[in-house]
Structure formats: C-alpha cells, structure tokens
C-alpha cells in the first residue's frame, strides 16, 4: 500500500496543465493565471481554517507558555520567559514525577501489550477461515466511544459485583480493588488502552502479513522448518517495518490520550493515574493556570515530536532498504 501511494506521488500531473497551456500559445500566461486563481479559490476554505485554527493557536500556545495570564483580558498578559517551564520541570514538582513517568508507563505499557497480542493474533487469524469476521470482533472497541469503553471496564473492575472479581472469587481468590488501589490503578487502565487499540494494530499487521510472499514459506517448508521457526525466521523479520510503524503510532497515541483517564479514574487515586494530557487539561480548565498548562502541552508535544522525527528517520531507512 505504501508503494502504491509512492507511485501516485511520482505520477504527479505536470503534464496536464502544461499541455493545455501549450495548445493555446497566445493565451498561455492568462490561462495559467486563471488556473492559479481557481486553485487558490479551491484551497481557500482549508487555508483560512489552518490560518485561524492551526497557525494562530500554535503561536498563541507558545506565547501563553511564556507568560503569566489571569485568563480574562489579553492586554494584561505578562511575559515571564521560561519561568513556567522551570516550574513544571523542577524535580520537586509533581509534573515530572509521577505525572510524566505515569505518561511514559501508560504509553509503553499499552504499546507492549498491544504489540505482543496483535502480532500473535494477526498471525493466528491469518491462518483461519472467516478472517473478516474475527477481525470485526477485535475491531468493536475502535468504533465505541471512550466514554462507553471506560464505563464498561470500570464496572468490570468493580470489587463488588464486577465480572473480573466475580471470576477471581469463583476461583477462590479474594477481590482486588483494581482502580482504587494506587498499585494496580495504572496497570488496570493500561490494559483497557491496549484492549481498545488492538483492532487497529491487528488490521495494519494483517496488511503487512499479506505482503510476505508465500514462496518464502513454501521454501522453508521444503527445508523442513516448523511453524515456530517460520514465525521467528520469516514472519517477524519481514514484518519489522510494519511493526515499527505500529509501535511508533501507538506510542504517540498513548502519550497524548487521556480521555480514558478522565472517564475511569479522574487521575486518581492521588496522582496514581495522572498523565500529562490530563494534568494540562486540569491546570487550564479547572485552575485557570493557562501559562503552566500551555508549558505542559509544549513539553509533551516536544516529546512526541522527537518520536515523530524518529519515525521519519526510520521510514527513510526503510525506503533505502526496499529500493
């Protein structure tokens, strides 16, 4: 699929416009200018939107992060330099630990779970009949609102009357207060995040699996390789680019998502499940600390940006490998 997009890129149509202009030499410049005006007319709604709701907010975010501001009159904004950053990155503040640490644990934990489960399951589904049916089942949480996913799981985790503790009790174990215990709260939310992302990962990995030529497996089978050896020596190495892609996109999603936290725990107990996005949201909209909150948003963005650059770099490597 990636190669299809690439081909399209190269077929970029210079030809059409120039051929037309060439056929009417007298009006060439005029036709070109008209075409440019039409093009910008078609682009104008999008460009106007990006100017107001992309560029302006980005500038605003940086300005706010460098200021102290009460939140009402923009003329009373006070420039404070890097003070906000100094405050939140101070080792004594809660933003670095536990909040940023939680954020990384949340992202890394859910990604590891998603990746391991999706590789195993995508590979297994690929051997079965009715593949579409199985993938649909794994896809259900993706089309379900996070408010529903969070509440369903909150009830599953419930110590009195929830399904999971019901099963534990039936097996003779005592109930676990999954979301109320600071030691289990974060891992419990991580499981839900992984559960909810599994479908996308399986789908993308399936596309990767279908790209591995059948002949490799046939050759390995002739050489007497079993399914385990084929998985380790053919499937995994050839799936590496797809795996890297899933890894990085899921890490990025994990670092920024906090809707599940709002719905399931509200960051608690204490700060046990508080993550950077949620802290930013609270600082801004509950406490009116616009400067601090904007600084938090930028720090989180820089972390994500670094990972995006890593992604681009890895893709470039991959492009060189395949060409």
């Amino acid at each position: 699929m990636a190669t299809v997009l690439h081909e399209n890129e190269q077929r970029s149509p210079r030809g059409g416009a120039s051929r037309r202009a060439g056929s009417v030499p007298s009006g060439m410049a005029k036709a070109r200018r008209r075409e440019a005006i039409v093009a910008y007319a078609f682009l104008s709604p999008s460009l106007l939107f990006f100017a107001i709701f992309l560029i302006l907010p980005l500038i605003f975010a940086v300005v706010l992060a460098l200021s102290a501001w009460g939140g009402f009159d923009l003329t009373q904004i006070e420039f404070v330099g890097l003070d906000n950053f100094a405050e939140i990155l101070n080792p004594a503040s809660t933003f670095v630990a536990p909040i940023l640490v939680n954020t990384l644990v949340f992202a890394a934990g859910s990604v590891v779970l998603t990746l391991v489960a999706s590789v195993v399951l995508a590979n297994a589904i690929n051997r079965l009949r009715f593949q579409g049916f199985w993938r649909t089942l794994y896809f259900l949480p993706i089309v379900t609102t996070v408010a529903a996913v969070g509440n369903i799981w909150k009830y599953l985790y419930e110590p009195s009357g929830g399904l999971i503790n019901g099963v534990l009790n039936a097996l003779g174990m005592s109930s676990v207060r999954f979301l109320a215990d600071p030691d289990t709260a974060l891992p419990s939310v991580v499981v839900v995040q992984a559960w909810a992302s599994l479908g996308t990962a399986i789908l993308i990995l399936t596309a990767g699996l279908k790209n591995i030529p059948e002949t490799y497996y046939e050759a390995a089978e002739l050489d007497g390789a079993g399914s385990w050896r084929m998985f380790w020596n053919i499937t995994l190495p050839l799936l590496r680019p797809t795996l890297l892609f899933v890894l990085i996109t899921q890490v990025i999603a994990g670092l920024q998502s906090f809707a599940l936290i709002i719905v399931m725990t509200g960051g608690g107990p204490g700060d046990a499940t508080n993550v950077a996005g949620f802290e930013m949201y609270q600082q801004a909209f509950n406490f009116g600390m616009w400067g601090i909150a904007s600084a938090m948003a930028l720090v989180l963005f820089l972390i994500i940006f670094a990972i995006t650059l890593l992604q681009l770099w890895l893709f470039r490597q991959r492009g060189e490998e395949t060409s």
Partner: protein, 290 residues
C-alpha cells in the same frame, strides 16, 4: 499461508482473544437488563434474573436524550460535510491544478498532520471565547460571556478541516487520468464543473471512507465536547452525557440504567460501522500507511 492441518492452536488463541473482546460488551448488555440492586450483588452473576426493559426508558428520560442526540448529530453532520467538501476541493487543486506555491502548500498540509489535537485544546478554546462580535463580545473580542463557546458552532469548529482528508483526496485524485479532465476542458467545462461532475463521482468510494472515518471520530469525540459542555450544558453530546449520568447516580441502584444509556449511544455507530465496514477498514489501512 494455507496449512494442510487444521490450525487448532491458532483457533484457540483467536477464540480466547475474541472472548476477551466481546465479553465486556455482553456484560454491558446483560447489566442493562438487570433489576434495581441486582448489579452490585455478590456473588457476581452474568445473566439478569429477569429482563428489565424499563431501564432503557429510564435512560431516555433521565438523560434528556433528545438534546444529546441533537447536539451529537449537528456536530457530526457539519464536520463530515465540511471535511468532505474542503478535502475534495483542496485535494483537486493539489492534484490537478498548476499554481505557484503548490509544493509548499502540499508540504504544509502534510505538516499539519504532525500536530496532535491536545496542543490546540487551550488556544482553540481561548480563541473561540474571545471571538469578535460573538456572544456579546466587542470587535476586539472582549466583554462578552463566553463568545463562540456558547454557540453550537463551538462543537464542530475545530473539526471542520482535516489535513489527513486533503492528503487522502489528493492521493486518489492524482490517479484520475488527465485525459478525462482534459476532454472536459476542451468541451468548455470550468474547473468547478470538472470538480463536481468528474472528480466527485470518480472518488465516491474514497469519499465514503473519509466520511466514515470522520463520522466515527466526531461522534465518539470526548475531550473537546466535554470542555464545551462544561461552559454550556445545553451543548452536551451523547458521550459526555452518558458519563455525566454515571456520576450522578448511585452506582449499585442505577448502574443498569447507565448501561442501557451506553447501549443506546453505541448502537448508531455500530450499525453504520457494520454496514459500511469495508470502507472503514480500508480507511484505517490507508491512514495506517500514510
């Protein structure tokens, strides 16, 4: 891979995983039929003693479902229509028209996709609050009470244009043969006619895919709607309302009502997803490989 033996181990894995995926939803449905006090009772029971359908009526009544549906429908419909319109127009210009600055504009569109939504939460909110001449604001955006954040437009404004949508449409419009467009131009068709009568019909499957991705994303959107709802409760959407109901009510007595509300909120998206699944799945594959 087509092994000769039945892949028992794979079946075992996939079925076990499927149980973990589906049981939470079944538990939700079962709980939505349970009677008062039955949900928190020990020991846990999966099936309700008796199927109480009245939980659904109670959810509809207590939630003001009409308002929630209206807001969710407006937010989603406007966002989908706008994304389809702006993406196909901008995509056409970037794919088939020649104009100075095209490579820069295209790179800019690609760059817009790098910025995660949380970054815009605070500035977008403040920009809408201080929007000139809205909600009692003066020309400089001051003095009013909430500006645009109290209008229903606040729900959909941040979702009106999608960089990914423009990119997606551009990639597909590029592969429409130039000859088709050329022929229409020779026949005297203007660019708008070409866009309307050639580009749109030729890209219908992609439009469905993009529309579906936007629909599911907007219908399920949570953080921005929550923020707007706290400013003006009349703008509450379905996902936010469900969560609020949950926090209002005593969980053990009324959990079944919450679960009934969840079922009601999930069903529209689930139905559309199951009907148009192939388009959605293709969209995820494309966005996964962009």
């Amino acid at each position: 891979m087509k092994p000769r033996r039945t892949p028992w181990f794979s079946y075992l894995l996939v079925v076990a995983g499927a149980v973990i995926m589906v049981v939470p939803f079944l538990d939700m449905v079962m709980t939505s039929f349970k009677g008062p006090g039955e949900a928190g009772r020990l020991p846990y029971r999966f099936l309700p003693e008796k199927f109480h359908l009245d939980n659904y009526l109670a959810a509809l009544e207590q939630l003001n479902m009409g308002l929630l549906f209206r807001n969710s429908v407006i937010m989603t419909a406007v966002a989908v229509a706008s994304v389809l319109l702006t993406s196909s127009m901008a995509g056409y210009a970037l794919a088939k028209l020649r104009f100075p600055g095209r490579p820069i504009v295209f790179r800019f569109v690609l760059a817009t996709m790098m910025f995660p939504p949380f970054l815009f939460l605070i500035p977008d909110f403040l920009i809408l609050t201080n929007w000139p001449l809205a909600g009692g604001n003066d020309l400089l955006g001051r003095g009013g009470d909430g500006g645009l954040t109290t209008s229903v437009a606040a729900l959909f404004i941040p979702f009106l244009v999608s960089g990914f949508g423009i990119f997606l449409m551009r990639q597909f419009i590029v592969s429409i043969p130039d000859e088709v467009i050329e022929a229409a131009r020779i026949d005297g068709a203007g660019e708008f006619t070409i866009w309307r009568h050639i580009i749109l019909p030729q890209t219908t499957p992609v439009l469905i895919t993009l529309g579906l991705l936007t629909f599911v994303g907007t219908w399920n959107e949570y953080v921005w709607s929550l923020l707007i709802s706290t400013v003006n409760p009349d703008l509450m959407t379905l996902p936010v309302g469900i969560q609020l109901l949950q926090s209002y009510l005593d969980p053990n007595q009324t959990l079944p009502i919450v679960m009934a509300g969840l079922v009601i909120s999930i069903v529209p998206v689930l139905t559309i997803f199951l009907l148009l699944q192939k388009y959605y799945i293709r969209g995820v594959m494309i966005s996964g490989l962009k």
